[in-house]
């Protein structure tokens, strides 16, 4: 298979104006990936599937990654202390692993990112290109909260329909659905005490 950089140039040659950038993987596996802009992602995906040299007809794995807002400190000689802190805004990421059954190569890793983690979480669905995305994008919607525009049946898949939150997000807090059970363990008793705070002691009855 061509290198990820060559595939990027191939996409740009056919889709001028598309936002495609290379995300390098610093790890030992060196599976670099292409970051697609949401505006041209569908056309780029179709190109990856139908291009005679690539023919990535098999989308094996679709998953989400949550990247919450984080603070990084960078060296800056002008700032006091030589360092300056910068806030990197958070976003949700969807990762696709593409293979070619026809040509026997792969994987090509393709990513898309949302603008933020709260109100701009819509990305184009790639289910019209690869049918295998149908359930997996539903799972990313369910567990991460990415909304896929153009998905034929976007419902929760693992959690129940009435469920409100997205459990795979890093800042997910489990609901306090604790039930007391008699046990001698101190931490359980402590949790029970926090859960059922002691009622206020009644005022001492005045002496008759």
């Amino acid at each position: 298979m061509e290198t990820t950089e060559q595939i990027r140039e191939r996409i740009l040659a056919s889709l001028p104006g598309a936002q495609v950038s290379l995300v390098t993987n610093p790890g030992l596996a060196a599976q670099h990936s292409l970051l697609l802009g949401a505006a041209h992602a569908l056309q780029a995906a179709l190109l990856l599937r139908d291009d005679a040299a690539l023919r990535l007809d098999f989308c094996s794995n679709v998953t989400g990654v949550d990247w919450p807002e984080r603070e990084v400190s960078e060296a800056d000689p002008t700032a006091p202390g030589g360092k300056v802190k910068r806030v990197v805004p958070g976003f949700l990421e969807v990762v696709y692993h593409l293979y070619s059954v026809a040509l026997g190569h792969g994987p090509l890793v393709v990513r898309m990112r949302t603008a933020n983690r709260s109100d701009q979480v819509t990305l184009p669905s790639l289910t019209p290109v690869w049918r295998s995305c149908e359930f997996q994008e539903r799972e990313v919607f369910d567990l991460f909260g990415v909304v896929f525009a153009g998905h034929p049946d976007l419902r929760r898949i693992l959690m129940w329909d009435e469920f409100k939150d997205h459990p795979m997000r890093k800042d997910y807090v489990e609901p306090d659905d604790f039930e007391w059970e008699p046990t001698p363990h101190g931490d359980v008793l402590e949790r029970a005490r926090r859960h059922y705070p002691a009622p206020a002691r009644p005022a001492k009855e005045p002496a008759p």
Binding site: A29, L42, F58, N61, S132, L158
Partner: protein, 390 residues
């Protein structure tokens, strides 16, 4: 909602059945099969819409066994998730272990000892034997052959589970693979009993096939039922014996050549019609090839260490980066996607579940078939709910 102007999903390949319902033909019936139904192989539910006995719509419902395996693994150490992978597809814990160990080894750059590579191939092929044997039994059970084929299958499965138990200490929850090798070294006596089992397995398959393969009822219930086209199978990400039964010769053991598979001679059986009978037959033929691989592996297995004692297990902190790694499990492509941020536990841990993704085209296969056939079609997909729901 469709920014590109592409055709909507309804125009994708696949049968489209339009039900007639007027005063003459009557109403459609919506039937909820499962989650407590013997034919659904666990807590799986299908909401089936029926026109008479014909399926006109089928929506699978998941999540009854969901415990968010991925979230739990993101809070555990790399080694701490290993026993949990046993619980995904609880028939095939050895291949789940291998796939996870392989992903971590690629992430952390650990080499595997030669003897361990052979042991992994042996255990993976034994797992394939037991999975496909059980599947054939369950499929016949779903078709109405109550008891006998399944009991024959379970008798043989128990012999393989005995081997697993004497090696790992547990029949099904083996927790056997480690990063860079395996946990316990198989003794010469163990290898001898594995050889004896492999030598006898062909005879069992002959007996099994004599009962089943040419059986008129099996043929009537499965031939031409639940056809799957190769184009749809590839597009829907179907993998494993289901993909090969649809006529696509794609086997990750051949394509990726992971482990020591390039050292072994074996063929990849493919189906001609993509129907339920082909899915049964491809699995039988795959078992015969597995016996061949096992013979070669048990003949050539070298002496040596099974696990480098210096290979880091506890407190493993792979360099920051990510990896997607996959193997050919008995049910299809079982893969793990790991992102490390350099910490002691994975930042992102994802299982690629073949059982769930193979269900994508369940509706397409069942449309236009009868309700009784949809049970057989589901049986031939070969799902385990521990993996579907995770």
């Amino acid at each position: 909602m469709n920014p590109s102007g592409l055709p909507p999903l309804a125009s994708l390949p696949g049968p489209q059945i339009r039900a007639v319902h007027d005063e003459l033909h009557g109403d459609l019936l919506e039937l909820s099969m499962g989650p407590h139904h013997p034919s659904t192989h666990g807590v799986f539910r299908m909401v089936v819409t029926l026109d008479g006995e014909t399926v006109v719509k089928l929506k699978p419902v998941f999540g009854y066994l969901h415990r968010n395996h991925e979230k739990i693994a993101e809070g555990a150490s790399y080694l701490g998730s290993m026993p949990y992978t046993d619980r995904l597809d609880y028939l095939c814990s050895m291949t789940n272990n291998w796939s996870y160990a392989l992903a971590v080894e690629r992430l952390a750059g650990q080499a595997v000892s030669e003897r361990a590579e052979y042991v992994r191939v042996i255990l993976a092929e034994l797992t394939r034997l037991l999975n496909h044997t059980c599947l054939a039994g369950f499929l016949l059970q779903d078709g109405g052959a109550s008891g006998t084929p399944l009991m024959y299958a379970f008798r043989e499965r128990e012999k393989i589970l005995d081997l697993f138990e004497s090696l790992s200490g547990s029949r099904m929850m083996c927790n056997y693979q480690r990063f860079g090798g395996c946990r316990a070294d198989p003794s010469p006596a163990w290898l001898d009993s594995a050889r004896a089992l492999v030598d006898g397995y062909g005879r069992f398959l002959d007996e099994y096939e004599a009962l089943l393969t040419g059986n008129e009822i099996l043929m009537a219930r499965t031939q031409g039922i639940g056809r799957l086209s190769p184009q749809l199978a590839v597009s829907a990400g179907v993998t494993g014996p289901m993909l090969r039964a649809a006529g696509v010769g794609y086997d990750i053991r051949k394509v990726d050549g992971y482990g020591f598979y390039p050292r072994f001679t074996f063929r990849v059986p493919i189906g001609a019609d993509g129907d339920t009978y082909d899915r049964y037959m491809v699995r039988i033929l795959e078992m015969r090839e597995s016996i061949g691989i096992l013979r070669q592996a048990l003949r050539d297995i070298p002496a040596g260490p099974i696990l480098d004692p210096k290979a880091k297990q506890r407190g493993l902190r792979p360099k920051a980066g990510e990896v997607y790694s996959r193997i050919e499990g008995p049910k299809g492509e079982i893969g793990f996607f790991l992102i490390s941020d350099g910490g002691p536990n994975p930042y992102r841990y994802r299982v690629r579940p073949p059982s769930l993704i193979n269900l994508t085209i369940l509706e397409d296969m069942c449309l236009g078939q009868s309700i009784a056939d949809s049970v057989v079609i589901l049986g031939s997909v070969d799902i385990v709910l521990g993996e579907v729901d995770r």
